[in-house]
């Protein structure tokens, strides 16, 4: 088990997720392999954003 301290980004992400959970009941996702924090139900997958950016049509 990796007990290293959270990085600043990880800490911020976890804090935001916990706040969302307590304020609005957002689900916290757990890694099924090691029960570590794996994000929230509100997160948007990278691929979704990247595909949208890559496919922006020409604007006139």
């Amino acid at each position: 088990m990796d007990f290293r301290p959270l990085t600043e980004t990880e800490r911020r992400t976890l804090t935001t997720a916990l706040r969302g959970n307590s304020d609005r009941g957002l689900a916290l996702l757990m890694d099924r392999k090691d029960t570590s924090f794996a994000g929230t139900a509100e997160e948007v997958p990278d691929e979704e954003v990247i595909n949208a950016i890559k496919s922006v049509p020409c604007h006139y």
Partner: protein, 312 residues
């Protein structure tokens, strides 16, 4: 007595399997998307758009169209814009068209979303050199297909024009001549939403709130992002935990990409500052600079990984 115990056991089992009482937090909240009724811009996002539009008009390519990708939060009936990614400096653009996004915007979105993975693609902003304050027929043709992949099947679109009436004597402050328009000096942004199945864009009221443009810090290293986007994006796709940060370099801002190693507090770091690319091996508290002349960022990282693997 046995029957009594048995009944108690059945009651207990029923209690354990009974659905929990309804409470505001009983189930994970999921957003139910309704049509966008309002576009919320942070003050920083708004400033970025006006400042960069003004700078664009004053530049060598000022007669051409310009554009930005908008990232933010898609909430139930509103979109909150929190980050602007400008079109690349080598964009394909002219007086009547602009290609806004490419690999640089992909990498930039990855960097911005490190801190908030709720950010999604909201839409795009582009300018018209004339006074057409509405997306064109050509825009509609492309956007009506493109928005299908956005959250709620709906996108946000801003049109910049330089046709606002100005009072040169007055202190320049923003105005809202209409609920979906925002003007500063001679510049105007008009805002619309377009949903799947719509035959035309809807004028959509905007409001301002205090907040950041999360992509603003990227401007300091935008040249580095554009120059190395292809290879850094590939590195990020191949190495799941790559982290990017903007730091103070030797002479100015630098873009760092860090690849953590298996050992705690061990990492490889590539620092990009202007045309200079430097590599570091961090082991505990010690930092060693590696000499890899002419290596591109991803190539340098893999050369170092191979070197470290050979030492084990």
């Amino acid at each position: 007595m046995f029957h009594g115990l048995s009944r108690k056991a059945r009651d207990l089992a029923a209690d354990l399997t009974r659905a929990p009482a309804e409470s505001p937090h009983a189930s994970p909240a999921t957003v139910e998307y309704r049509p966008i009724e309002r576009i919320v811009l942070t003050d920083d996002v708004s400033r970025t758009l006006f400042e960069e539009y003004s700078a664009h008009r004053a530049g060598q390519r000022g007669d051409e169209e310009m554009g930005w990708v908008l990232l933010g939060l898609r909430q139930s009936d509103q979109a909150v814009a929190l980050a602007t990614l400008p079109a690349s400096s080598d964009r394909d653009a002219g007086e009547a068209h602009v290609w806004i996004s490419g690999i640089a915007q992909v990498l930039a979105s990855r960097i911005v979303r490190q801190d908030d993975r709720r950010l999604t693609m909201l839409g795009v902003v582009h300018t018209h050199p004339g006074s057409l304050r509405h997306p064109s027929h050509g825009d509609l043709k492309g956007d009506r297909e493109w928005i299908k992949q956005l959250r709620g099947g709906e996108g946000v679109f801003g049109i910049g024009t330089a046709d606002a009436e100005t009072d040169k004597e007055a202190t320049p402050t923003g105005t809202n001549p209409k609920p979906h328009m925002q003007c500063l000096g001679a510049l105007r942004f008009s805002w619309y939403a377009l949903a799947e199945g719509d035959g035309q864009y809807r004028e959509t009221p905007i409001s301002l709130t205090l907040g950041p443009d999360l992509a603003r810090p990227l401007r300091a290293v935008w040249r580095e992002i554009e120059h190395h986007a292809e290879r850094l994006e590939r590195l990020a796709r191949q190495q799941a935990k790559v982290m990017f940060e903007i730091v103070q370099g030797h002479e100015g801002p630098a873009l760092n990409a860090t690849v953590p190693l298996a050992e705690p507090d061990h990492a490889l770091r590539v620092a990009i500052e202007g045309k200079e690319v430097r590599y570091y091996y961090e082991a505990g508290g010690d930092v060693f600079q590696a000499d890899l002349p002419d290596a591109s960022p991803d190539q340098g990282i893999y050369l170092l990984l191979a070197e470290l693997a050979g030492r084990k």
